[in-house]
């Protein structure tokens, strides 16, 4: 049985890495049937595999379609594993909830989508509020979802001020201390993050994952 389970785990890594959702779902069910611990699969198989996929993407060994496919497969597997964890009476182990969006007037969302894929793959619950998002929507969603982190993306110099106005709104309504607010995107750097009082800045998607992990500790 151990050999079989090892083989299933090995095949699952391959299916996740290559973004074969149906194959990954089937292998996950086989692994559970063979007695695998769903929490162990998340922590010691899913997260390391998607971390490697993310690293390959950062090195451009793979491209966005492959990253997206792996992310989709990981989400499908996560759903199965969370169901198994819930059925056993245990609690799932999401490191935190992130409200993620591109700021008002900015319609660029590919970078934000990559961050979504990477965070979701690492177990974060991501509430993607889309692009061109008003400050009030970030606030409402963060409250509604009891978010840990609000992540703001902006690509253009002309939309960068909206990161400041979003943080300002949280401040004005007395909600600033309830959430960690982080920023990223093409026009953002650490100096800007410091200037507007953000809790963190990430230059790329992999760094965003590490930053979120650090902030929810």
């Amino acid at each position: 049985m151990a050999d079989t389970l090892e083989q299933v785990r090995s095949d699952l890594v391959k299916a996740l890495s290559s973004g074969q959702t149906e194959e990954a779902e089937s292998l996950t069910r086989q692994a559970l049937a063979a007695g695998a611990d769903p929490l162990d699969l998340i922590q010691n198989l899913l997260v390391p595999t998607l971390t490697r996929v993310g690293q390959d993407f950062q090195k451009f060994n793979i491209f966005l379609p492959e990253l997206m496919a792996a992310g989709d497969a990981a989400q499908a597997v996560t759903a199965i594993l969370e169901e198994a964890i819930a059925a056993s009476g245990a609690e799932t182990s999401s490191p935190g909830t992130v409200v993620l969006g591109t700021v008002e007037h900015d319609v660029h969302d590919i970078g934000k989508n990559i961050v979504n894929t990477m965070l979701s793959s690492h177990g974060f619950k991501v509430i993607d509020v889309g692009r061109d998002v008003a400050p009030s929507r970030f606030l409402e969603t963060a409250r509604q979802e009891k978010a840990d982190i609000v992540a703001l993306s902006a690509l253009m110099t002309t939309t960068r001020p909206a990161t400041r106005s979003t943080i300002n709104l949280f401040q004005e309504v007395g909600a600033r201390e309830q959430f960690k607010i982080i920023v990223g995107g093409g026009c953002i750097d650490q100096a800007w993050a410091d200037e507007i009082g953000a809790d963190g800045y990430a230059p790329d998607a992999a760094a965003a994952v590490e930053l979120c992990k650090k902030l929810v500790k």
Binding site: F63, L64, P65, M68, T157, T159, G186, C187, D204
Partner: protein, 466 residues
């Protein structure tokens, strides 16, 4: 010709009634179909042959890009519907697209013509801050430094982040004021350069349709002989804000410019797929935007440049595919990782410029530091780009491939850790508006090394004067 179907009311009708699709589904379908087309059409990137002399490859690429747009259409983000066209509509619209356009007015007007592969028609040179931010203080001087260069034919714009020191909020009155002010500054820059009729290709500070329209003011802002960019969102996406610009500009007879940013490593995947998407993006610009000319602005998904091997290959094969299969007027749009005042930026520019010349494109530069650093544009690198472009006129694709590989050897190692250089005020005498000795020495150094490689850097004299 089925004018009524691709005419703007027809585009709106299809936007309202075309097939509904979630945007993420459109993306995944596009990614999957592009990967299939790469295989079906036998497209293969060779990192040692960045300027293929393979007409069959160019033609297969065009067909693959055409098929992709025929099947996918354009995605209208405003309605979440696909705008679809028939094969006949697309073929007719491409065939009827302008092959020569007059840009600017009076003595400063230039005619930009479709160029073929290894064409003998000289490139026109568009210059100005390309997708790069400028400070309010230096923006007027940067524009003038470009406009006063004799080899520059058209002026780009570049954006500023503030208006009278205040951050510009898109959609607010500040955007309108900034758009009008910046259009007036561009107009004043060409006047001060004694080229008042020079074509100004955009007003980049404005993000919204209202802002773009506010920049039009024949007395002191933009005129119909100038242009405004109509943007595509990657990949193959538009929206009503962009299409509304088309509605007004078509009516006043103003030039429209197709701005696309196909992302290398993005939904198209690797270089072959990105090239397919780039062809499809040009067709979108024809049928949805009815533009005068197109900016081939593909860029690396993570680094935002197009001067690595993949970016250069895409420029070469897409340029050839368009040159051989369409009458379109297409312009390269060089984005470098290096900054001003470095040898590396000039080598990056030289590689992109030579490819543009032999692959049917006109020239546009330069998005230095991939558009990240402020005030990283000056007239000198535009002069250099034009000189290199003219020096490459008459060369074969094989010859240029050798030159490009030689250029790459001077900067490829720095792509991951680029030399950011210095901004405009540290490289120009901002009173006399001339490059300082430091910047001139770097320019002469690289110019000399290109001459040593065998490139005739004085060719521009013959090109200009016959």
């Amino acid at each position: 010709m089925a004018q009524s179907s691709t005419y703007l009311p027809g585009i709106v009708k299809r936007s309202e009634n075309g097939p509904y699709s979630k945007e993420s589904e459109f993306d995944m379908t596009l990614a999957r179909r592009t990967a299939e087309l790469v295989r079906e059409y036998g497209l293969k990137f060779d990192p040692q042959v960045l300027v293929p002399a393979d007409d069959g490859l160019a033609d297969r690429l065009y067909q693959a890009g055409f098929e992709l747009f025929l099947e996918m259409g354009a995605y209208n983000q405003s309605t979440e519907r696909r705008i679809l066209f028939s094969r006949d509509e697309l073929e007719t619209a491409v065939a009827a697209a302008p092959s020569a356009i007059t840009l600017g007015t009076g003595k400063d007007a230039v005619i930009e013509r479709h160029r073929g592969v290894e064409s003998t028609i000289p490139c026109l040179m568009h210059s100005g801050p390309t997708g790069t931010p400028c400070s309010e203080r230096y923006h007027p001087l940067i524009l003038q430094s470009c406009a006063q260069e004799p080899l520059v034919d058209c002026l780009g714009h570049g954006s500023i982040a503030t208006y009278m020191g205040e951050l510009i909020i898109p959609g607010s009155p500040l955007e309108i004021l900034a758009a009008r002010s910046e259009a007036a500054i561009a107009r004043e820059a060409v006047r001060k350069a004694s080229r008042p009729g020079m074509h100004i290709e955009d007003n980049a500070v404005s993000l919204t349709c209202a802002g773009k329209m506010a920049s039009i003011d024949p007395a002191s802002g933009l005129r119909p002989s100038d242009g405004l960019l109509i943007s595509q969102m990657p990949e193959l996406k538009t929206n009503y804000d962009q299409l509304s610009r088309v509605a007004h500009l078509q009516n006043i007879g103003m030039h429209m410019v197709d701005l696309m940013t196909p992302l290398i490593g993005g939904l198209g995947g690797g270089p072959e797929g990105t090239a397919i998407v780039t062809i499809a993006s040009h067709i979108l610009g024809v049928v949805c935007y009815h533009v005068s000319y197109h900016f081939l602005g593909h860029m690396h998904l993570l680094k935002s440049n197009n001067t690595d091997r993949m970016g250069l290959w895409i420029e070469a094969v897409v340029g050839q595919a368009l040159a051989r299969n369409t009458p379109l007027v297409a312009v390269n749009d060089i984005y470098t990782v290096s900054g001003l005042g470095t040898t590396e930026i000039l080598w990056e520019v030289a590689a992109g410029a030579m490819i543009g010349t032999v692959c049917g494109l006109h020239q546009h530069g330069i998005g230095a530091t991939a558009g990240n650093e402020i005030d990283h544009t000056s007239g000198l690198e535009a002069r250099f780009q034009a000189e290199v472009a003219h020096a490459a006129l008459g060369l074969s694709r094989q010859e240029v491939n050798g030159y490009v590989l030689a250029c790459l050897s001077h900067y490829e190692d720095s792509l991951n850790d680029p030399n950011v250089g210095k901004p405009f005020p540290e490289l120009y005498d901002t009173e006399a508006l001339v490059p300082n000795n430091e910047w001139l020495e770097i320019y002469h150094q690289v110019r000399g090394e290109l001459s040593d490689l065998g490139l005739n850097m004085e060719s521009w004299r013959k090109v200009r004067h016959g």
